[in-house]
């Protein structure tokens, strides 16, 4: 009458699922009409997105002056948002590539949606370097290609150029990687499709997948190779983003610790965002048996570790500033902690260093509501981290005569909101049109941790049920 569990490992997928159940569960939302909740969420997101579109249109039409920047502070909300979204975009590829290489099979429940999140977040991020330009219509000048303007070449020494390469590469690889994983599921959708149009479209998108062993073999080899290719990118993108600051001369930016510090911070915020989204999704889409408490706990542990690296980096920065003997560096730190933007600094410290410490407690890690709150707290903290790094370093640098304050305008706030609108609009569309969970991969881990399965089991069994042999 019962299911047999391994004494060594817990199963990844809870409940008594058959292979068909998985297909049904994952595809159900796609085949149903959208729920009222989905419509409400979608329309709200779309509205916020449109507000952002209006703000950006106005800004491009009138000028960067519609932002709160000034002669001293040349970047603020724009690059803060950029780095924030790039950071969010880190978890997806980490989950799908690095955890894949490390054989972390629990990733299968969340990799699809985390990757989608990555792609959308990188799209959100990519908008900011574009619109922060004084003349965005000339953005293609940062692309090195043989041109008729001389030809004029680009400056390969500029970190902004490296950014352009890093982000476009990251986006491309992430998109391909995500789509590759999607092919078997597209074939499933094709096979289940009832209308001819759907069949045709899914047929095209699945590239004629026939599920043969040979196809699977090719698929898995390619997937492995792409994972290996994507892995260094996970580390390189944010390293390069951090070099925008690290290679500059401004105290608070000029720091060799930035690349690892930024990568850890990015994973920290990326996983928090995954947690936020998954906790909502498992509830709304009834995926509690796929995205289990164990999944949440594991992610919490990653958040805890990366949060620890972030805290250590803060500590090292402070240590260097105080003991290095450079008066500008020392002042920069004191100004962050006690100056006019101290509130932002202390929000950052409390959200990124203090609150994540609660995750040491197992009970909290397994408390969905608390984890949800903490995941949002971390992301608030990580947004402020970038704000603190950018604005507090710039606003009081070497010459006191140029010290200034920054206050965002309504246009900037609308643009930030709009980026969230874009994110959620696309994510809701993803949840509506693409299998939220990688069906093929989850099927592969269905029996994980389960020794023997009673085929006549009745009712559901809790994943955490006592082990019976």
């Amino acid at each position: 009458m019962s299911i047999y569990y391994s004494i060594l490992r817990k199963p990844i997928i809870a409940g008594d699922k058959k292979l068909k159940d998985i297909t049904d569960d994952v595809i159900r939302p796609l085949e149903q009409k959208p729920t009222l909740l989905w419509w409400v969420a979608f329309l709200v997101s779309l509205t916020v997105l449109l507000i952002g579109v209006v703000a950006v249109t106005y800004q491009i039409k009138v000028g960067i002056g519609t932002w709160g920047l000034n002669k001293t502070i040349g970047w603020a909300f724009d690059i803060t948002n950029f780095v924030f979204w790039i950071g969010i975009g880190h978890a997806g590829t980490l989950i799908s590539a690095i955890l894949f290489l490390f054989r972390q099979r629990w990733r299968t429940s969340i990799n699809r949606s985390a990757e989608a999140m990555t792609i959308i977040a990188v799209m959100c991020a990519g908008i900011f370097p574009l619109i922060h330009m004084g003349r965005p219509w000339l953005f293609f000048w940062v692309i090195p290609y043989p041109n008729l303007r001389g030809p004029l070449w680009v400056n390969f020494r500029s970190p902004l150029l490296w950014d352009f390469f890093a982000i476009s590469t990251y986006f491309t690889i992430s998109l391909i990687f995500w789509y590759l994983g999607l092919i078997p599921d597209m074939a499933t959708l094709r096979d289940r499709a009832k209308s001819k149009i759907k069949k045709f479209v899914y047929g095209l998108m699945s590239f004629g997948w026939n599920g043969s062993a040979r196809i699977w073999h090719h698929y898995e080899t390619t997937y492995l190779l792409l994972a290996a290719l994507a892995t260094p990118l996970v580390l390189s993108v944010h390293s390069i983003v951090s070099m925008d600051f690290a290679t500059a001369v401004i105290p608070g930016w000029h720091s060799t610790i930035f690349p690892p510090y930024f990568v850890a911070g990015a994973i920290f915020s990326g996983f928090s965002m995954v947690l936020t989204l998954m906790i909502i999704a498992r509830k709304v889409l009834h995926y509690e048996e796929y995205i289990t408490i164990d999944h949440i706990e594991k992610m919490c542990k990653i958040v805890l570790v990366t949060g620890g690296i972030v805290a250590l980096s803060y500590g090292i920065e402070i240590f260097m500033a105080i003991f290095f003997g450079n008066q500008y560096e020392r002042f920069m730190f004191l100004n962050r902690a006690l100056g006019p933007y101290a509130w932002a600094f202390w929000i950052m410290i409390s959200c990124n260093v203090l609150f994540p410490q609660f995750l040491w407690i197992k009970k909290i890690r397994r408390n969905v509501a608390l984890v949800f709150i903490l995941s949002i707290v971390v992301n608030i903290g990580m947004w402020f981290e970038r704000f603190v790094i950018i604005v507090t370093s710039l606003h009081r640098d070497f010459l006191p005569s140029s010290w200034a304050m920054y206050k965002p305008t309504i246009i900037e706030i609308a643009t930030l909101a709009g980026s969230f609108g874009l994110f959620f609009t696309f994510f809701l569309l993803f949840a509506r049109f693409v299998p939220f969970i990688a069906i093929g991969e989850v099927k592969g881990v269905l029996k994980y941790g389960k020794l023997k399965k009673n085929l006549t089991s009745e009712g559901s069994v809790k994943a955490n049920a006592d082990v019976t042999v």
Partner: protein
């Protein structure tokens, strides 16, 4: 008669609220002369000792070696004491009153020290006073008489012909106008309805004059009420001459042909008298008849005329006037009334360097010129000591009502370090009708605050606080302050004022300004400039400058902060005016700025002015970060901004340690054919979304190089004069080629006073400074 003050001959200067480096009589001339007395390159170095006694902090006070704060009401006592002590030393006794030092906060020791300095420099000392009070001026004259300044530092043989207006007769005129005695009134060069405290009275009286003619360049408050207005040509459109000082005749030449249908005053008068002629013909005719006979140098008139045009002036000698002797009776009959305060504070009315008495109020460049001291633009305000503001619980921008019983004015508060606790200062020249037009100035966008609201003027008119006293207008008086609920923003280009960082953030001084005292400097010319760093370099120098290598040196001991360079740069380089709100948002576009730092306690600050423009670093942090190579280094060491390549990432500005890069946040240019005539055709007009900054007037460098090439000669040191350098009355800015070992710049770079800001960072800026030397203990 106004004597010609010879600051160049003075060794000890005591100024009583006379802002002679800022606005008093002839500041450009005085600045040049003053700097001649502060020559550090001589051996031993020579520096005049300058004491400034004033209530507010003026440009002159900010440059003084010893600055003492006192209210204008105390001046009588202070001057009386100084005069009495000098009398003692001179062995005479003419003063009828004894100084009562209990009426002043200034200590006896301080005064005695000044007196002994004055006395020891007898014949080379000068006391000047800006107060418009006969009794004070008699005392000042007496002091100068005792010091033997007449004929030495005060030239009566060649008096000044500036500011010779007679205030007394204006009142008489009003009476006559009211009495119907005036049937025709011609008004030129003045604006009495605006600038008299009883301007309203003048306006009413003007209505009673059957025929009044106003000659004016712009519609002004007085012209509005005249029966006929004659539009005058601008001085840059017309020929004219002047004699600022006896014997020095100068010619004003037009720079452009006239833009509108206008005449000069001379042309009007000649036309009306039936001999219509152009101002050029009139001027030449006058010079032929009146100036030519006065000189012997040129036998031919054309020679004289050409010389005058080339040099800008000619010197003539008229038969010397009989020097009047000192009238001791004035001293003997002197009565000083002890000031009976009728209000809490003493109001000091002053002029700003840009706007002066209001004559430049319609000029947006000058409205946006940061005041050398407050760094505020587009407004006047109530300056008060920070302690006073704290005591009254007032913060910057809180609007207060200032009243003297008759008049009231509402202006925002600006706490001003270094000001006397009991003094509040308000600038004249604001509240002009002509400034209503600035409602549309600056970029238009949703969160814009207009520079002036519809129908309002820039600032408020403070002239009504002037007081008639014994026929003279007094620029100070007692007032009360009442707080109001209102606030008004004050736009400043600099909001952190100290060279030290805030106390709670470490409180350390930034080594951006290096200074020493004359005494230390005489012992060791490198004193105060020992903050040297050893810079190790991994790489060999890969950019060798084989041709020119331009550099600039700015002498901090010479810069008075007058800000002439800021305006000349704006005019030369087509720098747009952005309006008050944009300045408040810290987005002014000036390519050169003058950083003004305070040090010391708030009540007694020391001031330093430091001009900062692009430092044209040889290791420029801005150049490496631009993704599109829009900012590059020329092979002559100029950091170039390529406007049409710039995409506007602002990365360069962020990475500029000196924060000299300016971004075009909006499109500032309007399609206004007349207004755009102001643009310099040699300089690109920048569009929205791109970065700009000081180019070292590259157009002038290129022009000078081309000219030298055309003539086939080598470019000589000093052939290139940058706009800032050219306009500096103190000659504080020197530009040249440091590859030329004989150039002035090469010598200055190796001067022991030379330093670079942030040299330890190895940016290798080619703009350097000479340390500040103060003549203090």
């Amino acid at each position: 008669m106004l004597p010609h003050y010879r600051f160049d001959r003075a060794k000890v200067i005591v100024g009583f609220d006379a802002d002679f480096l800022g606005t008093w009589i002839s500041p450009v001339e005085f600045t040049k002369d003053y700097m001649k007395t502060r020559n550090l390159s001589e051996k031993p170095p020579r520096m005049s000792y300058h004491v400034q006694i004033e209530g507010r902090l003026s440009v002159t006070g900010s440059n003084a070696d010893n600055r003492i704060t006192a209210t204008t009401a105390e001046f009588g006592v202070l001057l009386n004491y100084i005069a009495a002590k000098l009398e003692e030393k001179a062995g005479t006794a003419n003063l009828p009153v004894k100084a009562d030092l209990t009426q002043t906060r200034v200590s006896k020791q301080t005064l005695d020290k000044i007196i002994s300095k004055l006395w020891s420099a007898k014949g080379n000392s000068l006391v000047v006073c800006g107060a418009n009070d006969v009794r004070l001026q008699i005392l000042v004259n007496y002091i100068n008489h005792l010091l033997g300044s007449y004929g030495a530092t005060i030239d009566l043989a060649r008096p000044s012909y500036q500011k010779l207006g007679d205030e007394n007769s204006v009142n008489e005129l009003i009476d006559k106008m009211n009495g119907g005695e005036v049937s025709a009134l011609f008004i030129a060069g003045v604006n009495p309805v605006y600038s008299l405290p009883n301007g309203a009275e003048f306006k009413e009286a003007l209505q009673k004059v059957p025929f009044s003619v106003a000659f004016t360049e712009y519609s002004d408050e007085t012209a509005e009420h005249a029966s006929i207005v004659c539009p005058q040509s601008h001085f840059l459109e017309s020929w004219n001459d002047s004699e600022p000082v006896e014997g020095y005749l100068s010619i004003t030449q037009p720079l452009i042909s006239r833009l509108g249908l206008s005449r000069t005053l001379n042309e009007c008068l000649s036309a009306w008298t039936g001999k219509s002629a152009t101002d050029y013909a009139l001027l030449q005719d006058y010079w032929k008849r009146h100036v030519f006979p006065l000189q012997k140098e040129h036998a031919d008139f054309q020679n004289l005329w050409d010389r005058a045009l080339i040099d800008g002036y000619v010197e003539i000698k008229r038969p010397a006037k009989k020097a009047s002797s000192f009238n001791m009776n004035a001293v003997k009959n002197l009565r000083l009334d002890s000031a009976k305060p009728s209000g809490d504070y003493e109001l000091v009315l002053y002029q700003k360097v840009g706007i002066l008495d209001g004559r430049h109020a319609q000029n947006p460049w000058l409205q946006e010129l940061p005041d050398p001291i407050t760094k505020a633009v587009w407004d006047n305000y109530v300056s008060m000591a920070p302690q006073t503001a704290k005591r009254l619980n007032l913060r910057q921008g809180d609007v207060v009502r200032v009243s003297d019983g008759n008049s009231e004015i509402e202006l925002p508060v600006l706490p001003q370090p270094g000001q006397h606790e009991k003094v509040i200062a308000v600038a004249l020249g604001y509240g002009r009708n002509t400034t209503k037009r600035f409602k549309d100035i600056g970029p238009d966008w949703i969160s814009k605050r207009p520079t002036v609201k519809e129908g309002e003027t820039v600032g408020e008119n403070a002239y009504r606080f002037l007081k008639w006293q014994n026929g003279f207008l007094h620029f100070s008086g007692r007032v009360n302050i009442h707080p109001t609920e209102k606030t008004r923003i004050i736009a400043q280009t600099q909001t952190y004022n100290s060279i030290t960082v805030p106390e709670k953030l470490g409180g350390e001084r930034r080594p951006l300004i290096r200074e020493t005292t004359l005494k230390e400097y005489s012992k060791d010319p490198a004193s105060g400039n020992k903050y040297k760093h050893q810079i190790l370099q991994l790489w060999t120098e890969d950019h060798v400058y084989t041709g020119h290598h331009w550099a600039m040196v700015i002498d901090l001991s010479k810069c008075t902060g007058c800000s002439a360079c800021v305006i000349s740069c704006q005019a030369e380089n087509n720098v747009p005016v952005v309006g008050k709100d944009e300045v408040y948002r810290r987005r002014e576009l000036h390519w050169i700025r003058i950083d003004r730092y305070y040090s010391g306690p708030e009540s007694d600050v020391e001031v330093v002015h430091q001009p900062v423009m692009c430092h044209h670093c040889d290791h420029a942090p801005c150049e490496g970060v631009c993704p599109v190579l829009a900012t590059l280094h020329s092979d002559e060491g100029i950091n170039q901004q390529i406007y049409n390549r710039c995409v506007g990432t602002r990365y360069c500005a962020n990475n500029c340690p000196y924060k000299v890069r300016r971004f075009n946040w909006f499109s500032y240019r309007k399609k206004d054919e007349k207004e755009n005539l102001v643009l310099n055709p040699d300089v690109t007009v920048r569009s929205r979304g791109i970065m700009e900054k000081c180019s070292w007037c590259v157009q002038r460098i290129q022009e000078a190089k081309a000219e030298a090439k055309r003539k086939g000669v080598k470019l000589a040191d000093g052939d290139i004069k940058l706009a800032c350098e050219q306009s500096c009355p103190a000659d504080a800015i020197v530009f040249g080629d440091m590859n030329d070992p004989q150039s002035r710049i090469s010598k200055l770079i190796h001067h022991p006073r030379h330093y670079n800001m942030l040299e330890e960072m190895n940016f290798k800026p080619t703009v350097g400074y000479l340390s500040l030397v103060r003549n203090k203990e």
